[in-house]
Assembly symmetry: C2
Homo-oligomer: 354 residues x 2
């Protein structure tokens, strides 16, 4: 059995706040969609095919440098809470977590690499980096892809590229995305302009947990829409260039805010601190939103705190429902979670003076 409780406090790569522009770009993520030749796509697979595919991929995964020491987890061995926990850590997707049939995932100990098996495609390779590090992520995922291909035969067409279950992923099978924290642009009401500009560039803006989710806590996920007709490096360069511009806009908004000392914005930030330091019951959405303001306050020097960006990013993660339950070692009712969340936050923010 995997000791997930010890994972709660381990510093997952994507919350480390170490890379370039990590005060705005929380993390960079790449994923490659791959399928095995000789098998149908997932929806048409028999149980025996699923077992065979998982076995083939497990063997291949264990032979790679990046994942030879990874945790290889089959869904049948995981509780619902554990799958929810992995979802909150972005190691698996909502679709993968809720799949009724057997699936699996390989996760590196630094949580910078995961391979979802039998998600929408047979394989979904993922690499995470903190900060804006798409190029580094590309080198890593490309190496992993090459290593896996030594022991797996991918479904590939000379004219189309990699074949995928959904036509939108055909070609490179690459999705590049960055999770960006834009409280400055949100508070100065400029974020809609940015989102409109991104849409024109064929980039998608999503919430924190992927497609169909809302932006919570001023966190947005920007990604490429096109997987066909562009080389991987072009896709990545294109996204990275746009993200750099977004970062500049966000930093400018924060600079202006720090200079102009807008009372109404400061009021919002301080009230966020006051509420987080005092509440006894707090839902996840409210906590995420208020912590975003605290991060802005600490980042701009308005709020003095010894909390680092990594501490704050870690807190965003630890206040999620499955993390709270994993940390407590027991299932918690929604009411108990809201209390545990409030207690955890008060404790972590106790050093901040109002």
């Amino acid at each position: 059995m995997t000791d997930f409780k010890s994972w709660v406090h381990r510093p997952a790569e994507w919350i480390k706040a170490e890379g370039p522009s990590s005060d705005v770009v929380v993390s960079s993520r790449l994923r490659l969609a791959r399928n095995l030749e000789g098998f149908r796509f997932n929806q048409k697979l028999k149980a025996s095919d699923r077992r065979e595919i998982i076995g083939l991929i497990e063997t291949a995964v264990k032979k790679t440098q990046l994942l030879k020491k990874s945790s290889f987890l089959r869904s049948s061995e995981l509780s619902e809470l554990e799958r929810e926990f992995l979802l909150e850590r972005h190691m698996i997707s909502r679709e993968h977590a809720e799949e009724k049939n057997e699936n699996a995932v390989a996760i590196s100990s630094a949580e910078d690499v995961s391979v979802m098996i039998l998600e929408e495609d047979h394989l979904r390779l993922q690499v995470f980096q903190s900060g804006l590090k798409l190029t580094e992520a590309w080198q890593k995922i490309n190496a992993l892809d090459d290593e896996l291909e030594k022991n797996l035969t991918y479904a590939f067409s000379l004219s189309l590229g990699y074949l995928t279950a959904c036509p939108t992923n055909v070609g490179t099978g690459l999705r590049a995305s960055c999770m960006v924290h834009l409280p400055g642009l949100v508070l100065t009401k400029q974020v809609h302009k940015v989102l409109q500009a991104l849409a024109k560039l064929n980039l998608a803006a999503r919430g924190l947990y992927g497609e169909g989710t809302q932006a919570a806590g001023n966190l947005f996920q920007f990604s490429n829409q096109m997987t066909l007709g562009q080389r991987e490096e072009e896709i990545i360069d294109n996204l990275e260039r746009v993200i750099r511009q977004v970062v500049e806009h966000e930093k400018e908004a924060r600079r202006l805010f720090a200079q102009k000392r807008q009372t109404k914005v400061e009021d919002q930030i301080w009230r966020a601190v006051g509420t987080l330091k005092s509440a006894r019951v707090m839902a996840s959405g409210e906590a995420t939103q208020l912590l975003s303001l605290v991060e802005l306050g600490v980042g701009t020097g308005l709020v003095k705190s010894s909390l680092t960006l990594e501490d704050l990013h870690g807190l965003f993660l630890m206040i999620q429902p499955a993390h709270l339950q994993m940390a407590s070692g027991a299932g918690l009712s929604p009411q108990e979670r809201d209390e545990a969340r409030a207690n955890l936050i008060r404790d972590k923010l106790s050093g901040i003076q109002l």
Copy 2:
């Protein structure tokens, strides 16, 4: 010129929190409506009549024990801010403060007695006491009434009693009211039952600043509706008996709350403290509502504080717009007031630990 700025911090009788049940009954107030024989009611008066009435009453007022050292203030000598200030201190009514024609008010230095001249009636005698002290208030206002009558001839009918501009006040001309703080009944959602019961007893429930105003900060003003067909002592006994029951209900709600430690109520109280200790901008209504919760928290021992009930009642007063401006010595824009209010509250609550 009256030095109103020095009044800002003087302990007005009705905020002293000294009388019986003063943790629930902030203050008791009586008023008598009187008119002078030989003059028309206010709306029909010429300016010369108004001057004459003010002069006659001033002379009579200065001969009474209770008001011989009072401040006698003519509206023509008061700025709009000063009248608003007196309104916030309950020394004059909204109607009196906004009257375009000359009027006046006599105010005792303890602010336990005021006589409004040319409000709806020629005279409106008012006595204030902290806590539930209607009987003491009655002795005081009755003595004042007798003393004034030595030098003034009241309009009186043997069949109807004292004649008043509005028929609803004819008879005794007495309105008895108590300002009660009912956060326990509001938070436990029992207050509507209490209000319904009061209505059946022909008692009115109003907001803090009289007829037509909303209950803010869980503060309610309960008063008799009938002025005719009952002796003054009956009116007062009746109200006092009912208020005592309301006090018991409120205390029971607070006791239950203190015993049961309801997390959601505690959450509201602590969030109120957190918001008051952190906000940089705060409107009057929000501040009043949050301070009510703080008073409940301090009163039930949940929130540890060296602040007394008098401090808190004083704060309810000092955060009003005219008080903030009087204290600052300058006119303030609404935005500046909201900032001054937030600053004052943070300062006063700085001793409370979250």
